[in-house]
């Protein structure tokens, strides 16, 4: 029985739609766990080879992760000849990654480089004459991901992982020597020591994992959408951030008719900046399309910049937009502060209690630096000075760290219950192997080498 694999099937940061592909006999079961069809449809409405509209919902807290289209394709008429599920995420890279994480948590394993193609071949989907080509694909992909891993590994992350493994190795060696040389004059590893050590290693993994979201944003970039009613200065802000005039800036409401996406290098982090057509009611057909696209951009953003004309009292449209923002991450810019101040911070806080508020006069470049700082602060969770290199930027690494953390949790539970050390060892070894997979080392011979170099044993 093959295990079920999953991966993001589209390139990062390109295009608005990302696909999470799942292959294997648990595909449908995983989909059922995570997917809620939109109203008026029940789950049974998922029909083989038919797109279904709905939401990916985190089973833990019932939070909607993304608005998606899903398709289930029954074996064997699929690319891999296994049951395949594809989830078309409309949202940002954040929701795409979150969706994949949920899929992995629900029982799939992250696909290896080229694994869908490999399965396609092994299951007879690909013609024999293509075998050589399949090998090349696998080789190229493996080598590429290996190179990537090495790049990353030269940083501090590999150092961190090695330190964690050394800690686990120390326990493994002591358990091994207690078992295989129980009559030698060697101190028994105590439960207290084991627990202390496991807790400290578990905490360190936790810390590394907490950098994972930051790391991902650093690697894949941040999607920022600027919203606001017409003529509050959205395009001017975009221009100020880009330091070049791209969007047309006029005083006539509705000048920006389409969403414009620009990539901005904000002190090393790619930021995908989308300026939207103002969301307002209109009869103009072309404008209608623009407004629809604005809504889409709005939905998939990691961060929203809400622009308000601070020199005038809030209008109905401002309240409407604030409503749509809800509890998403938002920075509110009170623009045109040079023309007077009619909106107070308190007013904004009443609408959006978690908002970061900045006074600005965009055409005079006032408030731009504060805005950039706020965006970065968001990325780094308030720790701008933190080094990039020990961050977890790769979902494979994140996956393995999670697994290692869980194994350590299991080992701790066993140790707390004073279960035999050789059983606890199974979980510790598992954690050690998961961490080893991150840096490409899992050799049990290491343990035996250490046993003999550290302890005086034998006849």
């Amino acid at each position: 029985m093959e295990d079920t694999i999953a991966a993001i099937a589209t390139a990062y940061g390109e295009g608005g739609i990302g696909i999470v592909r799942i292959s294997g006999n648990r595909s449908k079961e995983i989909l059922d766990k995570l997917f809620k069809p939109a109203k008026n449809q029940d789950r049974k409405s998922i029909v083989n080879r038919q797109l279904t509209y709905g939401y990916i919902v985190s089973p833990e807290d019932n939070k909607i992760i993304d608005e998606v289209l899903v398709v289930f394709m029954k074996a064997p008429s699929t690319y891999t000849r296994e049951d395949v599920v594809e989830i078309f995420c409309h949202g940002s890279t954040v929701s795409l990654n979150k969706t994949l994480s949920l899929v992995l948590d629900s029982g799939a394993r992250l696909a290896e480089a080229g694994e869908f193609t490999k399965r396609a071949f092994l299951n007879g989907r690909i013609d024999l004459s293509q075998a050589e080509a399949v090998i090349d694909v696998i080789k190229a992909k493996t080598e590429k991901s290996f190179e990537l891993a090495i790049d990353q590994m030269e940083g501090h992350l590999s150092q961190r992982v090695k330190e964690l493994r050394d800690g686990l190795m120390d326990l493994l060696v002591r358990i091994a020597v207690n078992i295989d040389y129980s009559e030698e004059d060697i101190e028994e590893l105590s439960y207290e020591e084991t627990l202390t050590s496991l807790s400290s290693i578990g905490d360190k993994i936790e810390k590394l994992l907490s950098t994972a979201d930051t790391g991902r944003m650093i690697r894949e970039g941040l999607r920022v959408t600027i919203v606001g009613r017409p003529n509050v200065g959205k395009s001017s802000l975009m221009n100020a951030l880009l330091r070049e005039s791209r969007a047309i800036v006029t005083d006539i409401p509705g000048t920006t008719r389409d969403t414009i996406e620009e990539v901005l290098n904000l002190r090393g982090i790619p930021v995908y900046l989308t300026d939207t057509a103002g969301i307002h009611s209109t009869e103009d057909e072309i404008e209608k399309i623009g407004i629809e696209r604005s809504k889409l951009a709005f939905n998939r953003a990691d961060l929203i910049i809400f622009m308000v004309d601070g020199s005038l009292p809030l209008r109905e449209e401002d309240y409407l937009i604030a409503d749509q923002i809800g509890d998403r991450k938002v920075i509110v810019i009170l623009n045109k502060s040079d023309l007077g101040k009619s909106v107070t911070e308190k007013q904004i806080k009443e609408l959006l209690d978690n908002a970061i508020i900045i006074d600005a006069a965009v055409i005079h470049d006032k408030g731009i630096k504060e805005l950039e700082d706020s965006i970065l602060n968001l990325v780094y969770g308030g720790k701008v000075s933190q080094e990039h290199s020990d961050m977890v930027t790769n979902i494979r690494h994140k996956d393995l760290l999670e697994k290692a953390k869980n194994s350590i949790g299991d080992a701790k539970k066993m140790a707390l219950n004073n279960q035999p050390m050789d059983l606890i060892e199974i979980d510790i070894r598992q954690a050690w192997e998961y961490l080893g997979e991150i840096i490409g080392e899992t050799v049990t011979e290491d343990i035996i080498d250490q046993v003999f170099s550290r302890f005086c044993l034998g006849k």
Binding site: A131, I138, K139
Partner: protein, 624 residues
Amino acid sequence: MSSYLMGTYEVIVVGAGHAGCEAALATARMGKKTLILSMNLEAVAMLACNPSIGGTGKGHLVREIDALGGQMGLTIDKAFIQSRMLNTSKGPAVHSLRAQADKMLYHQEMKKTLEKQEMLDLKQGEVIDLLVEDGVVKGVIMNTGAKYLAQVVILATGTFLGSKIFIGDNNFLSGPNGMAPSISLAESLKGHGIELRRFKTGTPARVLGSTLDYDKMIEQPGDDEITPFSFMNDDLECEQVPCWLTYTNEKTHQIVRDNFHRSALFGGDIEGVGARYCPSIEDKVNRFADKERHQLFIEPEGLYTDEVYIQGMSTSLPEDVQDQFYRTIPGLENLKIVRPAYAIEYDCIDPLDLKLSLEHRKIANLFCAGQFNGSSGYEEAAAQGLIAGINASLKIDNKEPFIIDRSEAYIGVLIDDLVTKGTNEPYRIMTSRAEYRLLLRQDNADQRLTEKGYRVGLVSEERYQRYKERKQAIEDEISRLEKTIVTPSIANPFLNEIGSSEINRGVSLAQLLRRSEITYDLLEAIDPERIPLSRHVKTTVQVNIKYEGYISKQLTQIERFKKLEDMKLPEDLDYNNLHGLRIEARQKLSNIRPRSIGQASRISGVSPADINVLLIHLERMNRK
């Protein structure tokens, strides 16, 4: 030299140590006319080093040998003088049985078994050459000129091949324990293209027990309740004798240090590679300089003799230094050494030259076992001997080889490690080498292996019946415990008494047994219906219930492991012409010729990408 035909057999076994004995008994019991040759019949099943059998990992091997229909367990059950289950404070997977042996009795019992075995001839004589025609072995030539023909030859030369003994700065050609070495055969094997290398091992001095002062030592008695090695024995009686524990001290270490320059190990005379797990006392003092004392055990060599073995003190220092430093140890002040400690160096092969069946790659029908394959230890040798014997028989019958994998037995771990990974030192089994330890327990060895041994034709009808009865008894008892519900009014007084938390509704006995503080034996207080069961059955029942969660976790891992093991690679696969393999992988795969994708994945230098490439090619070949 004039040469003459002395006999024709189906199998010839060269060497009657622990590997040779198991090999010859296996082929004879599987109906093959067998000859076993030993340079000296006093060396049959000689315990040349420590007077004990079993221990951690090793005890598991003996149980497995027994479960497959081998001899070692039966013989030690007749010849032991002390029995101990080690690691009882730890989990059931690492409980390990060890027995002190009466060396002479062990030798005599095994020799008697060989002598009585049908289809088996035992002879003294020195093999000096193999008869090989077109890459196929045909028989052996003796130093007397006698020639024996056979379809299969099994080499189990132990530490006799090209062996040299080192005591201090002196060395001389000699086999173990003053026996003659086998010099000519080593040269002949090289002539047949078999590559040899040098390994070394060592043994401590034997001294007269009556010259020791046991009042200064700590007594190490055997277990009150004796667990037999063999599944054929339920209860054994024995007047057990104790071992004794004492320690070295700074004075000992000083003498050793002062004489480092006189040790053969440091002088550079020894070219053989020794095992890290049996360091000599000079190694210990040198490498672990900050350790204030090293422990040593005094173990009786048998009831027939006053000689005792000093476990923990092997050395290649000269006799005069040995005499000095042994005397610094409490209780050993007045000792009389009767056999000095020595280091021994011998020829062996690189096990990477073997198939998993233990047949040599270069010469067909030549099987190899024991220390000749680069292992160490009586139990490791016997395990290989048994497998070589089984496979030799199967080869004669043109049947598929008998391969036990890593998920089935320590024997599988041992042979797979040797043949797939190779070894740079005499290889010793350790529980940490096994991935699926929780399933490879000593209590369930028969449940894992006896069926296989029966199918291959080695397990007797009697043993098979016992196994089936035990299997049934285990299943019945587990299901009875699952089904028997006890009420709070019956259970709670008992639970209170042993300090376990009360229940508030009826629960099954199995559920109670899963609590860490409750054992099967304790449970008897509230289980009046139980029928008396053998110790083996009770143990397995208890473990299977208590550790069910972990066991099923490992079973899932094994399922994944098996899938790769079941993908067989053709033996004649031309790796050099496989597109996409890296050069290192090509070379390694060409040399080792793995049987399966699983085995290939364990070869150092073969990457996951190479394995993917192999999978694609395998699929392509299957479709053609």
